[in-house]
């Protein structure tokens, strides 16, 4: 009798399925609410090599759902604690600790070492980085995510019939825009929800690796804990998906995955112009478009510091205490606000919503004439 007896005797799994698990290398990204239960089941099932990538440390508020950690782990690195805990439980598998956040710089080299990735990350930029890296590297991706009392799971990017199955961008081609995420405040969650979704991810990973059953390929499953109810839909491939994924490793590293998830303030055009009129000198409107972009505003005072040279030319902003940044559509100005906030943490820095394409923009009429 060994520790895998009960799954080896399972019809359709057998010693063949177990052998495949023991040879498999799985990377779990995010050792949080989803990652903890997923890791526990992957390790218990005997996945041969498990990598745990997470740059975060354990905090007290994690403990209602991140069930690998206890009170004594607060302040320690999640990847280290989780790998130590699992390695101590099971001597017949190898646990690798990667105490880093996944970025577009390290994603390809880290993911490249594994056969399958389980996404338990907690933000959109990381989710798109992981998806695109898995597509470039042909790695199956078990995606799971939660929002308050709901969760979603999908098995993405599996090679079948010489073709890759649907990826995350077939469901959601582009990340939500900057103004869809007003702040990064954590929302509440019952610990059992990521427990359910994370365990489903582990089950799907085990199915893909061992060939047991039918994985959730080309489908996305939603679970609502409150109702409770399941909903499943078929993913049809999206022609945008291929265009949006970087074509190769070089393009991937260059791609910008950041979206606003910081303390950037927003103002509308009316507020921006009123603030400027009342406070000439201290309030500065800044156009962060490149200097050749049209139309050129004529109806109000502003200065132009293109986003591309912002980190060199910011001295022009030293005298203002409030900066109101605008661009063509309101996306670059959010990124500019993030950059300037690191240079001028004491200044009030806001992004003008919608940029000059916004219908409320005083130069909207010029935009339509050009």
């Amino acid at each position: 009798m060994n520790r895998f007896e009960r799954q080896v005797i399972l019809q359709g799994f057998g010693t063949a399925g177990q052998g495949k698990l023991q040879k498999a290398k799985v990377l779990v990204i995010g050792a949080g609410g989803l990652g903890c239960p997923a890791l526990l089941y992957l390790a218990a099932a005997g996945v041969g090599i498990i990598g745990i990538a997470d740059g975060d440390i354990v905090s007290v508020s994690n403990l209602n759902r991140q069930i690998i950690y206890g009170e004594n782990d607060v302040g320690k690195r999640k990847a280290e604690v989780a790998s130590g805990y699992l390695q101590k439980k099971y001597s017949d598998i190898t646990i690798e600790s990667i105490p880093e956040f996944i970025t577009s710089s390290n994603a390809l080299s880290i993911i490249g070492k594994y056969d399958l990735v389980l996404d338990g990350s907690d933000n959109f930029p990381t989710r798109y980085i992981i998806n695109d890296a898995c597509v470039l590297l042909n790695k199956p991706l078990i995606s799971g995510a939660i929002y308050q009392h709901e969760g979603q799971v999908a098995v993405l990017n599996v090679v079948s019939k010489n073709d890759l199955s649907a990826n995350y961008r077939d469901i959601y081609p582009e990340p939500p825009g900057a103004d869809e995420i007003p702040n990064c405040d954590e929302t509440g969650v019952l610990g059992a929800l990521p427990g359910i979704i994370g365990a489903m991810q582990a089950a799907e990973a085990i199915k893909v690796l061992s060939g047991y059953g039918t994985p959730l390929i080309n489908k996305i499953l939603f679970y609502d804990l409150k109702s409770p109810a399941f909903y499943e839909t078929e993913i049809i491939s999206n022609p945008l998906s291929k265009k949006l994924i970087p074509v190769d490793a070089a393009a991937f590293v260059q791609a910008d995955y950041s979206i606003a998830c910081s303390s950037v303030n927003f103002v509308n055009w009316e507020q921006a112009l009123t603030m400027q009129q009342k406070n000439t000198g201290e309030v500065m409107l800044v156009d962060v478009r490149e200097s050749d972009e049209q139309p050129v505003p004529e109806d109000f005072d502003y200065i132009n510091i293109p986003f591309s040279v912002l980190q060199k030319e910011y001295h022009q902003l030293l005298l203002a205490d409030t900066l109101l940044l605008f661009c063509q559509s309101g996306v670059r100005s959010v990124r500019a606000a993030q950059v300037l906030k690191t240079i001028f943490p004491e200044k009030i820095i806001s992004s003008v919503k919608g940029g000059i394409m916004d219908p409320m923009s005083p130069i909207h009429h010029q935009y339509h004439e050009t």
């Binding site: 939603f222 491939s237 999206n238």
Partner: protein, 75 residues
Amino acid sequence: MKILAFGIVAEKTGAKEFACEDIPDSDSLYLWLRNTYPELRKIKFSIAINRKLAQVNTKIDDGSEVALLPPFSGG
């Protein structure tokens, strides 16, 4: 037709499940939703018609079940 709303979309529509008059296609449905629930203008979500994602403008047969599916990011 029947509409199922998920995540933040359900917060904006105020109901997880509701009925509405038949709408001919997915583009018209987007428009109707944006006009009926202005807060949805700011939110990205996908539409599934009878449990298939609609990637381009897709006909909605009378009495269909339509789901409004936003991405989740929590972990």
